[in-house]
Amino acid sequence: MTVAAYYAGLWRLLQVWMPQLLVAAGGTLRMTALAFIVAATVGLGLALARLSRYAALSRFAVFYIEIVRGTPALTQLFLIYFGLTAVGLTLQAFQAAVVGLGLNGAAYLAEVYRAGIQAIHRGQREAAQAIGMTHGLVMRFIILPQAVRIILPPMANYTISLLKDTSVASLISAPELMLRARDLSSEYFRPMNLYVIAGLMYLAMAYPLSRAVRAMEARLSQGR
C-alpha cells in the first residue's frame, strides 16, 4: 500500500472513529468530575476525622486511609462492582467507577488536606484561641483559608492523575475512552492507530489542567 493510500484510508477511518471517541471522552471527563467531587468531600471529612480529638474517629480514619492506599484502585473497583452484589447492592459500571475512584481519591486527598492544615504554624491557632475563638471558628477563619493555598496545587495534580486513572474503569466495562478505543480496536484491527489517538486525546484533555496548575503554582509563589 502506498503511503498516500494508507493515509487516505486512515482519514476515512478517523471520520468514523472520532465521533465515537469524542463521546467516550465526554464520559471520561464526566467520570473524572464526579469522582473528584466524591474524593474532595469525603477526603475533607476523613482529614478532619484524622485530626479529631476523638480517638475512635481518628483511628477509623487512619485505618481507612491505610487500607485504601495499600490496595490498587482496580481491586477496589472490582470489589465495588462485582463484590457488592453479594450484599445485594448492584451498581452500574459507571457508578461503581465513580464511587470506587472517588473513595480511593478520598484517602489520598485526606493526607493532602492533613499536611496542609498541619503546615499552618501552631502560633496561629494559639493567637486565634487567645482572642476567644472556638475550635470551629479557628478552623473556618484562620486555618482553612491559609491551608487552601497550600492544598490547591496537589489537588490540581491529583485531578490530572484521576483523569488518567479513569482508564482503569474500562476493565469493568464502564463507558469511557479506553473502553471505546478497545472495542474499536477489536472491530477494525488497528490497535496502534487507535491507542495512539486515545493517548493523544488524554494528553489533550490534561493539557488545559496542566497549564492551570503551572499558572497556579506561579501565582502562589509570588504575591502573598
Partner: protein, 225 residues
C-alpha cells in the same frame, strides 16, 4: 445464596490461596522488573534534562511529558497489542515490564532531576576549593546527598508501581489481579476472592510503606545543605 458461597470459598480455600500466591509472586517480579527499567530510564533522561545541549533537554522533556501524560493502560495496550499488529510480538510479562518501565522512567526523570539540582552549586565550589575533580566531587559529595533526597520519592514510587501492576491483568500477565479474574470466572466467588486479593496487596504494600515512612523520618535529620 450468600451463605452458600462463603461455604464454598472455605472449602476451596487452599486451592484459591495457592493460585493467588502464584499471582502475588508474579506481581513482585513485574514490579521489580519495571522498577529497574524505570530507574535506568529515569537516570538517563534526568541527566539529559540537565544537559547543556538544548535539543537533548527538549527530547528529555518530551519523553517525560508524553509518557507521564498518557495512562499506563494505554501504554500497555500500545506495547502489547499495538506492536504485535506491526509484527513485534511481546509476551505479556515483558510487555508489562517495558510498559511500566517507560512510564515509570518518565515519572522518575523529574524525581532524579530534583535530586541532582537539590545539591547547591556551592557544594561543588567547596569541593573544588579543596582540590577535588568534578568526578570526585560528584561521587563523594553530590551523589550521596542526592541519594538521600531521592530515596523517599523512590520508595513511594515503588509502592505505586506495586499497585499499578494490577493493570497488567488487562494484557493477561499472570499477576495477582489476573489470577483473581480467572478464579472468579471459574468459581463465581467474586467477593471472597477480591477480599483475599486486597489482603495480599496490603501484605505486600504495608511493609514497604513502613520502610518509606522510616526513610522519610530519617531524612529529617542530617539535612541536605
Amino acid at each position: 445464596m450468600t451463605g452458600d458461597s462463603w461455604g464454598r470459598a472455605l472449602a476451596q480455600l487452599p486451592y484459591l490461596v495457592h493460585v493467588l500466591l502464584l499471582g502475588a509472586a508474579m506481581t513482585v517480579q513485574v514490579t521489580a522488573g519495571g522498577f529497574v527499567v524505570a530507574i535506568v530510564l529515569g537516570l538517563v533522561f534526568a541527566v539529559l534534562k540537565t544537559a547543556p545541549a538544548r535539543i537533548l533537554r527538549v527530547f528529555a522533556t518530551a519523553y517525560a511529558e508524553i509518557f507521564r501524560g498518557v495512562p499506563v493502560l494505554t501504554q500497555l495496550f500500545l506495547i502489547y497489542f499495538g506492536l504485535a499488529n506491526i509484527g513485534i510480538k511481546l509476551e505479556p510479562v515483558p510487555a508489562a515490564i517495558v510498559g511500566f518501565g517507560i512510564n515509570g522512567g518518565a515519572y522518575l526523570t523529574e524525581v532524579f532531576r530534583a535530586g541532582i539540582e537539590a545539591i547547591h552549586g556551592g557544594q561543588l565550589e567547596g569541593a573544588s576549593a579543596i582540590g577535588m575533580t568534578r568526578a570526585t566531587a560528584m561521587w563523594y559529595v553530590v551523589l550521596p546527598q542526592a541519594v538521600r533526597v531521592v530515596l523517599p520519592p523512590l520508595g513511594n514510587f515503588a509502592i505505586g508501581l506495586l499497585k499499578d501492576t494490577s493493570i497488567a491483568s488487562a494484557v493477561a500477565a499472570p499477576e495477582l489481579s489476573f489470577r483473581a479474574r480467572t478464579l472468579v470466572d471459574q468459581t463465581f466467588l467474586s467477593t471472597q476472592i477480591y477480599l483475599m486479593v486486597a489482603v495480599l496487596y496490603l501484605a505486600m504494600s504495608l511493609p514497604l510503606s513502613r520502610v518509606v515512612r522510616a526513610l522519610e523520618a530519617r531524612m529529617g535529620r542530617g539535612h541536605v545543605a
